[in-house]
């Protein structure tokens, strides 16, 4: 992009000031400065719609679900199951039975690695990519240690592009599962997951997509994608923490053994033998995150009302502007220049350590993530220990980028 964007051009038809008014925390100050929150990739802030929905659920519709024969329990059950329907519709899943509520993406991936993993044998192959979050690496290593599967890693290039041809070369009839991120939490790379799924299916492999970053940046239609599993988490989608979603194809889920045993997932228990309910109940042992589900549904409704396409366009404008502005800072290196990327910028600033950057710019009210981003193999790939990362949410503005740039210049000045 050669010409700077005018503020009025950003996300035309997108009223970012109206969005900002919906987020109470954005009206607060941090260290005497307006909060410039650029860490939505770690966890996004919550709109009043989510806070209010959870407040209302606790105040007027709370009891345990799926149990009591009384009105409040029915209300709580309706809230919880309606949340499942909201997510079903949002992902365009074929049935609400395909939506399992988990704790987060980590627990969703562990569920698949454990449960679907029982179908895998020594020598079977699982393919991941070089830019996975630890949550999509370690569960497969644990499976490898249990069963002797072979873990293969699809490479990326120096700009962070996913190399589809190299990925295809790793696939064979031995490939039983492909577990790939939709959007890299460090580089911002958007992986062409539909093509990944098509190629994997051609070899008879199932595919799990880690959508932690993906679901907030792109419309996800699991039927169109033909994904076997798609996982995302509430707190990155402007909803509460403590609740995540695992979408899985119904036949697949019902063939899989339970992950955790307990109440709510059983059909009939005797000391000799227990039979299990079908999905989703099979995978939701114990009292679930009831009010969090209500909050997640409110977040999905809010996000959908604003529109993921508009939000993505707004974030693209911010990304483009920020890429240009940050590139003007002498000594700043951006990691991740994929042709197709989401609103995430990782960078280093000469020899100023990202943690020092994080502390110093916080004094100006700017929140960014600093560290290895739970992606140490990716850090090793670029021979760095850590980066600072600015990630954009639906409420960020051009002014936020300008404040970030000024704060970085200040940080650089301290290190002279």
């Amino acid at each position: 992009m050669d010409t700077p964007i005018n503020i009025s051009d950003v996300g035309s038809g997108y009223d970012v000031e109206a969005v900002r008014r919906d987020f109470p925390i954005l009206q607060t100050e941090v260290n005497g400065h307006r909060l410039v929150f650029l860490d939505s990739g770690a966890s996004a802030q919550k709109p009043a719609a989510v806070i209010d929905a959870m407040d209302a659920a606790y105040r007027g519709a709370y009891a345990n679900v799926h149990r009591g024969a009384y009105t409040l329990s029915q209300m709580a059950t309706d809230g919880y199951e309606n949340a499942r329907k909201t997510v079903t519709k949002y992902l365009n899943a074929a049935s609400a039975d395909e939506i399992i509520f988990t704790r987060n993406v980590t627990s969703a991936i562990n569920l698949v690695a454990y449960s679907y993993g029982t179908f895998l044998e020594a020598g079977d192959e699982v393919v991941i990519s070089h830019m996975e979050h630890h949550a999509n690496i370690v569960p497969w290593q644990l499976l490898r240690d249990r069963t002797g599967i072979v873990l293969k890693v699809a490479p990326i290039d120096d700009d962070g592009n996913f190399l589809m041809e190299e990925f295809e070369k790793l696939l064979s009839p031995k490939t039983k599962l492909v577990a790939i991120t939709h959007v890299s939490n460090v580089l911002g790379t958007i992986v062409p997951i539909k093509e990944v799924i098509r190629l994997a299916h051609a070899q008879g492999a199932k595919v799990l997509i880690d959508g932690a970053q993906g679901v907030v940046h792109a419309r996800v239609d699991v039927q169109d994608l033909e994904a076997d599993f798609y996982a995302f988490t509430g707190h990155k989608l402007y909803g509460p923490s403590g609740i995540g979603v695992l979408y899985g194809k119904k036949d697949l889920l019902n063939a899989m053994p339970p992950y955790e045993g307990g109440g709510d997932m059983i059909e009939r228990v005797t000391f000799e033998k227990t039979t299990y309910r079908e999905a989703p109940a099979r995978f939701e042992a114990g009292t679930p995150a009831i009010v969090e589900a209500v909050g997640l549904a409110a977040a999905v409704d809010y996000f959908d009302a604003v529109g993921v396409e508009k939000i993505a366009a707004h974030e693209q404008a911010l990304l483009s502007y920020a890429t240009d502005r940050l590139s003007e800072i002498d000594g700043l290196t951006i990691y991740g220049k994929a042709a197709n990327k989401a609103g995430i910028i990782s960078f280093t600033l000469e020899d100023v350590h990202p943690h020092d950057i994080g502390t110093i710019i916080d004094s100006r009210g700017v929140a960014v993530r600093a560290g290895h981003h739970c992606a140490q193999p990716l850090m090793d790939r670029f021979d760095i220990a850590a980066t600072a990362r600015a990630s954009f949410g639906m409420y960020n503005t051009i002014d936020d980028v300008d404040v970030l740039v000024e704060a970085l210049v200040y940080a650089k000045g301290i290190f002279g």
């Binding site: 260290n31 005497g32 020899d351 100023v352 350590h353 990202p354 943690h355 020092d356 502390t359 110093i360 004094s363 600093a370 560290g371 290895h372 140490q376 850090m379 220990a385 850590a386 301290i414 290190f415 002279g416």
Partner: protein, 154 residues
């Protein structure tokens, strides 16, 4: 707030961070340990040469980290030389309390010069998230002289 930043990133700390002292791997070290801050991935290796009288004759380190952790390691390796393991243990304990704000000042009258140097790091008190950066090297040398291979700030 920017006063706190200036206090944390004093010239002395910036200097030690940029030009760390004792940044080497001594061939005659008698013990070493790896220090790891799992939250941020910072890693240090601290080497020490301990004499028969339990005195630290030489200390050095290698690794990478933020300005605070590198500066602290640099100063620490200077300070511990010539001290006994027990004295280093007491200095570490006092320094840790200084960084967490548990004590206002270090109480160890024999080592006033060393304590002057350590006081420079006390700006970290205003930044609880960074205390582990300031204490990583101290955890690590303590582990090394106690015969442990690994130290962690967790």
């Amino acid at each position: 707030m920017e006063d706190h930043i200036r206090e944390l990133y004093q010239e002395v700390i910036l200097d030690h961070g940029k030009n760390p002292r004792n940044f080497r791997h001594p061939e005659d070290s008698t013990c070493e340990a790896h220090g790891n801050n799992p939250l941020c991935g910072d890693r240090l290796t601290v080497y020490a040469k301990v004499g028969d009288d339990d005195t630290i004759q030489d200390a050095a380190f290698e690794g990478r980290g933020c300005a605070i952790s590198v500066a602290s390691a640099s100063m620490m390796t200077d300070i511990v030389k010539g001290k006994s393991i027990a004295q280093v243990g007491r200095l570490f304990d006092q320094f840790h309390k200084l960084c967490t704000g548990e004590v206002e000042d270090i109480d160890y009258p024999e080592f006033e010069d060393e304590i002057d140097k350590l006081r420079v790091m006390s700006g970290v008190r205003q930044f609880p998230m960074r205390v582990k950066c300031a204490t990583l090297a101290w955890h690590t040398i303590n582990a090394a002289v106690q015969g442990d291979q690994e130290a962690t700030t967790e």
